[in-house]
């Protein structure tokens, strides 16, 4: 037994309590704030964003808008007065998420009977009956507009696809697919550094790639006036939104 220096009997030290790391709690810590909640930089009164956010939260309470990124395959059913069953279902890959506030949009692309179709849906449009996420995967880029100039096999998705089951509520998997393109000319010069695309397998000669680097603007990442730090805003808005949605 241990002898203390004072000669008094040693005080009983209870063993340290085991720390239980609850995996469920860790899972909930993963935050996702939809990008349309973050207000753009400008001279508008913050009251306008607050009121818009209230409307957006109200709509989310009634209608579930799932968490999705660019590159996910979604199925959207809208109410259509001219269709047979008054509903219209479209499946496609999300190539772009734009707009802020109530006017937020996302573009779905699919190739149906050899014809490329892109539909721009508004997230808060009351005519949307359901949004289902069929396949979860993030891609290397934020903007997949280059799929228009890629081979059509990369944009075709089965209309009656079954939703791929998701095991853990952990990380969203990133698909590092390098897409092969149709021969040039393309709708935009995707090889230029302005678009900063990592998801294309450029089969262009070295000379063309070097020439494209002439248009690079390396000073842009050091421009301080372009910095828009949204971390604190995001925190505040995330807390506000999650509290409102829990009610």
């Amino acid at each position: 037994c241990r002898s203390s220096g004072d000669g008094k009997p040693a005080k009983f030290q209870p063993p340290p309590k085991p720390v239980i790391i609850d995996k469920q709690k860790q899972r909930e810590e993963r935050r996702f704030l939809s990008p349309e909640f973050i207000p753009p930089r400008g001279r508008t009164d913050p009251l306008k964003f607050y009121i818009e956010r209230k409307d957006m939260i109200q709509r989310r309470k009634v209608f579930n808008i799932p968490e999705f990124y660019v590159g996910h395959v979604l199925a959207v059913t809208t109410a259509d007065p001219y269709a047979n069953e008054k509903t219209n279902r479209f499946v496609g890959i999300c190539i772009q998420r734009g707009g802020k506030g109530l006017g937020a949009t996302f573009v779905l692309r699919n190739v149906i009977e050899d014809q490329g179709v892109e539909i721009c849906y508004e997230l808060y449009n009351p005519r949307i009956q359901a949004i289902e996420v069929l396949k979860l995967e993030k891609r290397l880029d934020d903007n997949l507009m280059y799929l228009r100039d890629a081979l059509p096999e990369y944009s075709t998705f089965d209309v009656n696809m079954k939703p791929v089951s998701r095991l853990d509520h952990e990380e969203v998997p990133v698909n590092k697919l390098q897409v092969r393109m149709k021969p040039k000319p393309w709708s935009k010069r995707w090889e230029r550094p302005k678009y900063n695309i990592k998801g294309i397998k450029f089969e262009l000669p070295e000379k063309k790639m070097k020439e494209a680097q002439k248009w690079s603007q390396p000073w842009l990442e050091f421009d301080m006036l372009r910095e828009y730090d949204t971390s604190k805003l995001e925190d505040k808005i995330w807390h506000e939104v999650s509290e409102e949605l829990k009610k």
Binding site: D45, F63, A79, Y124, P126
Partner: protein, 243 residues
């Protein structure tokens, strides 16, 4: 500006206007002003009293109200007179379904040429044009021997009062005093704006039961936080379906 959806699924763009500390400043009777109706001077947003002379501040002292950024006159009939100073004006003075005219100073563009200011076509870019691509060209005829008054020429553009008529009020927020008005409104964001009942003959009988002479907050009527027009889709309802 925000989108708003109707129950039939159509989308309209809407401008938000906030009613900020509006008070009635003075009553001018018909004989005093010399017009056809009596007038009421109304002041808008609160501002600092230190940047104006004593004589300018007299109106505000008389009414017992802090200095207002903008003062405008409204022609009012005799039964709609409000006592100056005590009663503040709220957004609930307007009701959804009403039609409204909005006046404001347009965005100033500075000294502008004739193509931007008046929409002239200019001249071609090539085919031998010497130093003439955005000029007005001829300004009068030979026989006139003068230039007429009001000839469209380059000059200062914008920063003048303009009105958009017949804008529908879709929704009113009584807590924050916000009016949702259809379409766009002249002026930049956060500029001061004058809202009046519409003078267009098609909307003469549109106001069914407006609060007359104005909406009093300490009265008996307790309004809900949001007042919607009948056709507006409220986000508490489920999604729109076509039966």
């Amino acid at each position: 500006m925000m989108p708003i959806w109707t129950k039939s699924g159509k989308k309209h763009a809407v401008t938000l206007l906030k009613v900020q500390d509006c008070h009635v400043l003075r009553y001018i009777s018909k004989e005093e002003s010399g017009g056809k109706t009596s007038k009421l001077l109304v002041g808008g947003k609160n501002a600092s009293p230190f940047y104006k002379s004593e004589s300018a501040m007299e109106i505000f002292k008389e009414a017992g109200v802090p200095r207002k950024q903008k003062v405008s006159t409204f022609n009012v009939t005799d039964d709609a007179i409000i006592k100056p100073g005590s009663t503040p004006l709220y957004a609930a003075h307007f009701r959804p379904g009403q039609f409204v005219d909005v006046t404001a100073k347009t965005i100033g563009k500075g000294f502008q040429g004739v193509m931007k200011r008046w929409g002239f076509k200019g001249q071609p870019a090539s085919h031998g044009q010497t130093k003439t691509h955005r000029r007005p060209g001829a300004i009068s005829t030979n026989k006139a021997a003068k230039v007429y008054r009001g000839k469209k020429m380059p000059g200062k553009m914008g920063n003048i009062y303009r009105t958009s008529f017949g804008l529908k009020v879709w929704r009113i927020n009584t807590v924050h005093n916000i009016i949702y008005v259809n379409g766009s409104v002249p002026g930049h964001t956060n500029c001061l704006v004058k809202v009046k009942d519409s003078k267009l003959p098609t909307y003469k009988d549109c106001n069914k039961n407006p609060p007359f002479p104005t909406f009093f907050a300490d009265g008996d009527e307790k309004l809900p936080e949001d007042l919607y027009d009948e056709e507006v889709f409220q986000f508490t309802d489920p999604s729109v379906t076509y039966a």
